[in-house]
C-alpha cells in the first residue's frame, strides 16, 4: 500500500510529466489559454491515462513479454513479441480515445464542444504513450502500482496545465515585448515553473 502511495506522489511532483519529461507539451502549450478548457482537457487526460496504462500493462504481461504466451501451451513458450509494443500501445490508445470521445459527446456536449479538436488529438498526446512506455521501462510489479502510476502521471499533467493556464490568464494584462508574446513567454514561464518543481527533487521516497 505504501509503495502505491509513493508512486502516486512521485509521479505527480517529482517525475512530473511536463516539468521533468516534457511529455504532452503540444496540447499543454496550445490549450492553456483559459483555465476552464484546460481543466476539461486535464480531466480527459487523467481519464484516458487511467484506462490505457493498466490495459497496456495487461497486454504486455499476458501477450507480449518473452514467454508471456505460455498460458496458450508449450509451443508458445519461447515467443517474444515485445518488439511490437509500440504498435500495440498506440492501437490501444487510439481505440480508448475514440471510446472516451463517444462517451463525452453523449453525456457532456458542452465539454465536447469546448474541447473541440483536442479530444481526438489526445491519441497523439505524448503524455499518454509516454505513460505506457515508462510503465514498460520501469517494470512495475502489479496492477495496483500501474494504476497508481497512470493516475499520478495524468494528475501531474493536469496540475501543470491548469496552473499554466491560470498564469497565462493573469499575464494577458502584462506588458510583454512583442517578439516574446504568446509562445516565447509561455516557454519561459514553463521553465520557471519547472524550477519551482525542482524543489521536490530533494524528497526521498
Amino acid at each position: 500500500m505504501q509503495e502505491i502511495i509513493n508512486i502516486f506522489v512521485r509521479s505527480v511532483f517529482i517525475d512530473n510529466m511536463i516539468f521533468s519529461f516534457f511529455l504532452g507539451m503540444c496540447s499543454y502549450l496550445a490549450v492553456s489559454k483559459t483555465v476552464k478548457t484546460s481543466i476539461g482537457l486535464g480531466i480527459a487526460v487523467v481519464f484516458v491515462q487511467v484506462i490505457t496504462v493498466p490495459v497496456n500493462y495487461l497486454l504486455l504481461k499476458y501477450v507480449m513479454k518473452p514467454g508471456a504466451l505460455s498460458w496458450l501451451g508449450e509451443t508458445f513458450q519461447g515467443v517474444d513479441l515485445s518488439f511490437l509494443s509500440f504498435m500495440v500501445f498506440i492501437a490501444t490508445i487510439a481505440a480508448m480515445v475514440q471510446l472516451v470521445e463517444m462517451v463525452v459527446e453523449k453525456f457532456s456536449p458542452a465539454l465536447y464542444n469546448s474541447l473541440g479538436i483536442f479530444l481526438p488529438l489526445i491519441a497523439v498526446n505524448c503524455a499518454i504513450l509516454g505513460g505506457s512506455l515508462f510503465m514498460e521501462q520501469r517494470e512495475y510489479e502489479n496492477i495496483g502500482q500501474v494504476l497508481s502510476w497512470g493516475l499520478g502521471s495524468g494528475f501531474g499533467w493536469m496540475l501543470a496545465i491548469v496552473s499554466l493556464a491560470a498564469i497565462r490568464e493573469k499575464m494577458k494584462y502584462n506588458q510583454i515585448p512583442p517578439a516574446l508574446k504568446g509562445m516565447g513567454i509561455t516557454f519561459i514561464v514553463t521553465g520557471l515553473m519547472s524550477i519551482a518543481f525542482m524543489s521536490f527533487l530533494g524528497i526521498k521516497i
Binding site: 516539468f19 521533468s20 519529461f21 516534457f22 511529455l23 504532452g24 507539451m25 503540444c26 502549450l29 496550445a30 518488439f83 511490437l84 509494443s85 509500440f86 504498435m87 500501445f89 498506440i90 492501437a91 487510439a94 481526438p120 491519441a123 497523439v124 498526446n125 505524448c126 499518454i128 504513450l129 509516454g130 512506455l133 515508462f134 521501462q137 494577458k172 515585448p177 512583442p178 517578439a179 516574446l180 508574446k181 504568446g182 509562445m183 516565447g184 513567454i185 509561455t186 516557454f187 519561459i188 514553463t190 521553465g191 520557471l192 519547472s194 524550477i195 525542482m198
Partner: protein
C-alpha cells in the same frame, strides 16, 4: 530540383520551422538535448520517419477512409518507428539507451502527424517526401542548436570531446549545472523563439 520543391525544403528552416513557429514536436525536442550526440541521432531518426511516412501515406491517400485515417496514419508511423528503433538498437546501442522512451515517442511527435494531415493527405508522393525531409531538418536544426548550447555550457564538451580547456577550470570556471536540468531546455527554446521573432516581425502573435 525545381524552385517550388526547393522552397518546400528550405521554408521549414526558418519561417515555417516546425518547432519554433508551428510549435510542434516540443516534447522530444527538449528531452533529448542534454548532449549533442543523442540530439543528432534523434534528429536523423525523425527525418527518416517523417519523410517515409509522408511518402507511404501519400501513396495510400486515395484509399484511406477519412473516418479512420488517424489510426491508419498511426499504424504507418508506428511501423517506421519500430524499424528505426531496431536499427538504433543494432548499431548505436548506447545512444538508443540514452534516448530511452523518446524513440517510441516519435510516433506521437506532432510534427509527423501534423505533416501527414496537412500535406501528405492532399499531395503527390514526391512533394510529400521532400516536405517530410524539410520539416525533419527544420526540427533537427533546433535540436542541434539547443543541444550544442546545453552540452557546451553544461558539461564543457561537444560530442564528448573536451572543448573548455583545463586552464579555464583552474582559473575558477565552473560548468553551469542548470544547463543539464530540464528547465534550461524550456528557457533556451523560449529565447530562440524570441530572437527569431525579433528578426522576422511577421511571425509575432497578435492578441
Amino acid at each position: 530540383m525545381s524552385g517550388k520543391n526547393f522552397k518546400m525544403l528550405s521554408n521549414p528552416f526558418n519561417l515555417q520551422n516546425p518547432v519554433t513557429v508551428q510549435i510542434l514536436g516540443i516534447c522530444s525536442a527538449l528531452a533529448v538535448t542534454v548532449k549533442l550526440k543523442p540530439a543528432i541521432v534523434m534528429g536523423l531518426s525523425v527525418i527518416v520517419v517523417t519523410a517515409f511516412s509522408n511518402l507511404v501515406i501519400s501513396w495510400m491517400r486515395n484509399s484511406i477512409p477519412p473516418r479512420i485515417r488517424i489510426i491508419v496514419q498511426l499504424v504507418v508511423v508506428a511501423t517506421m518507428v519500430i524499424l528505426v528503433d531496431q536499427v538504433l538498437r543494432a548499431f548505436v546501442y548506447d545512444v538508443s539507451k540514452q534516448l530511452s522512451v523518446y524513440v517510441g515517442l516519435i510516433i506521437t511527435n506532432c510534427i509527423i502527424m501534423g505533416r501527414l494531415e496537412a500535406f501528405a493527405m492532399g499531395n503527390k508522393p514526391w512533394p510529400s517526401f521532400i516536405d517530410g525531409i524539410g520539416n525533419g531538418i527544420g526540427y533537427a536544426v533546433i535540436l542541434i542548436v539547443v543541444a550544442t548550447v546545453r552540452e557546451l555550457f553544461g558539461s564543457g564538451t561537444l560530442l564528448g570531446f573536451k572543448i573548455v580547456p583545463q586552464a579555464v577550470y583552474d582559473a575558477g570556471y565552473i560548468n553551469n549545472g542548470m544547463m543539464i536540468m530540464p528547465t534550461m531546455a524550456l528557457i533556451l527554446v523560449g529565447v530562440i523563439i524570441w530572437i527569431q521573432r525579433s528578426y522576422f516581425k511577421q511571425l509575432n502573435e497578435k492578441e
